[in-house]
Every structure is written in C-alpha cells, then in structure tokens.
Amino acid sequence: MSTERPDDELVDGEIDRTPSPRSAIGAVVLAAIATAMLALVSIEGAALAFTGAIVLSVGVRFGRLRIVHAGSLLSVGGLVTAGVTGATPEPLLVAAVCAVLAWDLAETAIELGDRVGGDASTARFESVHAAMILAVGIASAAVGYGLYAATAGGQPTTAVVLLLFGAVIVVSAFR
C-alpha cells in the first residue's frame, strides 16, 4: 500500500470551484443541530460549538479546508466541555454524530468543488455519501449506548474504557 499521494490530476482546467452547495448547506445545518443538542445540556459547550459552527460555515463558504478543520475542532471542544460539565450521554452522542457528519459534508463539498465544480451533477453521489456516513455514526452510537446501558448497572466504566482502547489499537493496526 503506497502512502504517497500523487499530484491531483483532476484539478486542472477552468471550472467553477465553489464548494458544492447541497453538501455545504447540509454541513451548516448539521453543525447547527449539534450546537442545539449541546445547548440542551451545557451552555458553555453550546457556546464553543456555536463558534465552531460559525467557523465551519465560513470555511465551507469560501472553500477553505483548514478553516473547516478548525471549526470542527471547536465543535469537539464544545463536546468535551459539555462532557466535563456533566452532560447526559444521549444529547452528547447525537451532537457527536452531527459534528462528524457536518465536518464530512463540508470536506466533501470543498473537495467536490475543487475537482468536479460546484455546478456539476453530484446530487445522487452526495446523498449516498451522506447516508453512509450517517449510518456509520448511528451504528457506532448505538453500539456505544448499548454498552453504556449494559454496564450502567454497577460494572466499572474501566471495562468499557479498556474495550475502547483495544478497539483503537486494532483500528490503528488496520491502517
């Protein structure tokens, strides 16, 4: 498996390189939902996530990947803040899935704009992609919540944590 990424051969010619509008709007909406979810449990976290959503919107509006990353990190900061202030897990899980989806859609919008142009026909692809990412989010959130519900009856959270670290190591070994 090669890891070197060659020069992008698709980015040439004169096309409209604005990010794809559908994914871009989706990203902004999802970032807003994540903020709203956090607002249910923690004002501080929601404030951070709101800043993140604004930054992400700016990034996706101007097609700047770095700004999108920065906005997403702020959203993660919001999640962590909410968790630290003792939020209940349910809204936090929904917010996490929405935040990841927002980042993914923003990144997709920018990448599509760069490579095929904002006005190309991409609608079907975008919906398939968003549905896939959403499904993965829901599935992993469900697994996590199931574990949580099962262990909540007195089992130490350490078991969950160790399980998780095992999973991370396995995943890292995959790459």
Binding site: M1, S2, T3, E4, R5, P6, L10, G13, E14, I15, D16, V76, L79, V80, A82, G83, V84, A87, T88, P89, L92, L93, A96, V97, V100, T108, L112, R115, V116, G117, D119, A120, S121, R124, F125, V128, H129, M132, I133, V136, G137, A139, S140, A141, G144, Y145, L147, Y148, A152, T157, V160, V161, L164, F165, A167, V168, V171, S172, F174, R175
Partner: protein, 421 residues
C-alpha cells in the same frame, strides 16, 4: 494505478484519545461514549480499499462535423459493469484542449451500484480543426474516502470542424509571376489592358496595337506596349509556432486562428483569379501543399486549413527548429513563388524569416494580425516592439498589412493606399 491514502481522516485517532482520556480522567461516561462514536468512524475509515472500477464508457455527440461556432452536445455515460459497488467516483471527461465545455462542466461525481449508469451532459462550442477527445479520468474512493485510486479510460471520439472560408479579400500581389496569363499586372510589355510604353514598329506587330495618333502626328509607325497580365505563384505561409499563439484577451480569437481565417479568405480569392496557390506552416508539425490551381486543389487547401494540426487553435506539440525548417521551406519554394506570410510578428524570428525569404528573391507580403493591446505596461511594450519591427520590415521593402480589429479587406485597402504612394 495503485491506490493511495487521502489522509482524510488523519487526526481522528488523536481526537478520540483526547476525548476518551479526558472522559477517564474526570470519570465522565458521556465523553467515553463520544469516543465510541469516534472509534466507529476510525474503523469505517480503515475499512476497504479504493475499488478498481470495471466500467463501460460511452460518449455520443449530437453532431460530429459541425460548422465553427456551432454548439455540440456531448453526453458521456459511465456504466458499472463490475461486481463491486462504486460508492464514490469522480469522473472528468477529456475535453479536447481546443474545445471548452460551456455552461455545465464536463465532470461529475457518481455512486454506482453494479449495473447502474450515470450520464453527464455538456456542451462544447465547435472550433475549426480536428479535435480528438482525451482519456476519461476517473477517481474512485472507498466508502469513507480514506483511500483513493486514479484510473484513465480511453474512449475514441473525434469531431471535425471545417469552415467554409468566405472569399473576397483580394490581396494585391507583387510583380513576381509565372509565364501563365492571369490577373497580376507586370512590368513586362506585351498584350494587356494598361499602357506600358511605346516602341518602334517591328514587322509582324498586330495592327491593333499600332499607335495611330502618333502615326498621324509624325508619320512614324510605332507600337503600343501594354502591361502583360500574368498569373502568380503564391505560397501562403502561416506562422503557428507556440510564440504565435498570442491574443489580446482570452475571449477572442488568437493570432493563429485569425491568420488561418485570413489564409482561407486569401486563397479563395487567389484560386478564383487563376493564381497558383500553395500552403505552408511555420510550425513544429510539418505542413506543406505545393502550389497548384483548380477546384480540386482548392478543396485540398480548404481541408488542410480546416483540419491540419499545424493550424489548430492550440499550439502543436514538439520543438520548432528554425534552421531546419527554413532550409526545408527554401527547397520547397519554387524560384518564381512569392510568399504571403501570415504572422502576428510576436518575436524576431518571424521578421527574420520574412527578410531572409525576401532576400532569396521570393517577394514577401506580410499579413500581420495585430494582437497587442495597451492594457498593461508589458502589452504596451510588446506593441511598441511590434511597431518597430513593422517599420524595419517596411524599410527593407517588404509589404506589410497591419491587420487590427477591422475586417481583412479594410486592412488590405488601407495598406494598398500606402503601397501605391
């Protein structure tokens, strides 16, 4: 081509560890759960490689022999004939460099289940010449987009766009002619229309040409000499080196396109006048049609002008070696051939070529599309440089038609006034 990492999800593991770490430190199970979501995505990102697509690609054109300026609708259909899901594909059609997709781009993103097809439709505006589509470029990704594969697929499509050149720009030729009768007025006395001189009567001169007025005045017999009209051999030489592809702005035609248009107009008029017309290009790709006359020859010239690579609207590949080219063209030019050189005079080489050819006895007329502007200091400098070159060429006795934005025949008429002074 092999697949490679896109680094799309890089940093996710770090974020997971951070979130989970904080969650453990402060004993917040909610944060650990957020970490689980992250792990789910990390596993998803590690899952699967970018698929090698098995595709059936089909490209159809609404018209494959359009006139210049016509809009051609192109439709590219990509069908997934393999077994694998292609959940993430970017497809870029290889539109020929001379044509540009107008309106919607010739690109799409698609997600294709086995057996499914996607179509992208776009429009190109036909430009004179022969255009071949290049490979379709495709990028596939795995579902998470963490791995990517780049492939190219060739689909043969060609469009030929040969213009009908309008006739009517009658360029006055110079006095280098063949022995055949034609339209070019020469300095040779004989039979013709225009007065040339008178000379002493010699037995056998036609009675019609005896100067009877003079006979009445002086009693001497003398013969009128009239300017003979002959046909010329003209070689139209188009400068289509890379340097000649200059344009005032990106929207309009470039100098080579204008030169080819002019050559088309000129040859139609010349062939109509019975002159022998040849065609050559000052270009890396060799192009030569020896002078000839007649309808079939006219058709050949038109085909060549319309479709040869040397006259395309984008520069031909390859390197241009002036000495080699010049020797070749010198051998090809017959002694009695005069040259109409179509060049924007964008550098010294064009002017040098004109002077050399003129020195070798092929009277040269330059038709020079002016593509210099005055929008920036650089373009103003280029304009001055070109004007200086025009001046030097004129001083060397070479006729120059400086062709700005007006129609060619107006430019020729203006130049003609200067020549007759």
């Amino acid at each position: 081509m092999r697949a490679f990492d896109t680094n799309r999800w890089v940093g996710l593991n770090g974020v997971i560890l951070l979130v989970v770490g904080i969650g453990i430190a402060i004993r917040a199970p909610a944060l650990v759960l957020v970490g689980v979501v992250g792990v789910g995505y990390a596993a998803f990102a590690a899952f699967g490689d970018a698929p090698e697509p098995t595709l059936e690609i089909d490209r159809t054109l609404s018209e494959d022999a359009p006139d210049p300026g016509d809009e051609v609708d192109v439709s590219l259909t990509v069908r997934n004939v393999g077994e694998t899901w292609l959940s993430d594909m970017r497809i870029v059609d290889g539109v020929p460099p001379g044509l540009e997709a107008t309106g919607r781009p010739a690109r799409m993103a698609a997600a294709l289940a086995p057996g499914e097809a996607a179509t992208v439709e776009y429009t190109v505006t036909a430009v004179r010449g022969e255009h071949t589509w290049k490979d379709v470029r495709i990028v596939t990704r795995n579902p998470s987009g963490s791995r990517e594969r780049y492939v190219e697929r060739a689909v043969e499509t060609m469009v030929r766009c040969i213009p009908t050149f309008e006739a009517g720009s009658d360029l006055p030729l110079r006095g280098l002619t063949t022995q055949y009768s034609g339209r070019v007025v020469t300095d040779v006395g004989g039979s013709g229309v225009e007065f040339h001189s008178t000379r002493e009567y010699r037995a056998g001169d036609p009675v019609k040409r005896i100067d009877w007025n003079r006979r009445a005045r002086t009693g001497e017999l003398s013969t009128l000499e009239l300017r003979e009209e002959r046909a010329a051999t003209v070689v139209l030489l188009v400068d289509s080196r890379e340097e000649a592809y200059v344009a005032r702005n990106t929207a309009g035609q470039n100098a080579v396109e204008r030169s080819v248009d002019a050559a088309g107009q000129l040859f139609t008029a010349l062939v109509g006048n019975g002159d022998r017309v040849g065609l050559g290009a000052m270009s890396p790709s060799d192009c030569w049609i020896a002078p000839g006359a007649g309808t079939a020859h006219g058709v050949r010239l038109r085909e060549q002008l319309g479709s040869h690579q040397a006259f395309a609207s984008t520069p031909s590949d390859g390197k241009f070696y002036w000495p080699l080219w010049f020797n070749r063209i010198r051998r090809r030019l017959r002694r009695d051939a005069q040259v109409v050189f179509l060049t924007p005079l964008s550098d010294q080489t064009a002017a040098r070529t004109a002077r050399r050819l003129d020195a070798h006895g092929h009277l040269v007329t330059i038709v020079s599309p002016n593509e210099t502007g005055d929008t920036s200091i650089g373009s103003r400098f280029a304009r001055l440089e070109r004007e200086l070159q025009l001046m030097r060429l004129r001083r060397a006795g070479i006729r120059v038609v400086d062709w700005g934005e007006e129609p060619l025949r107006v430019a020729i008429a203006a130049a003609e006034r200067r020549w007759s002074r």
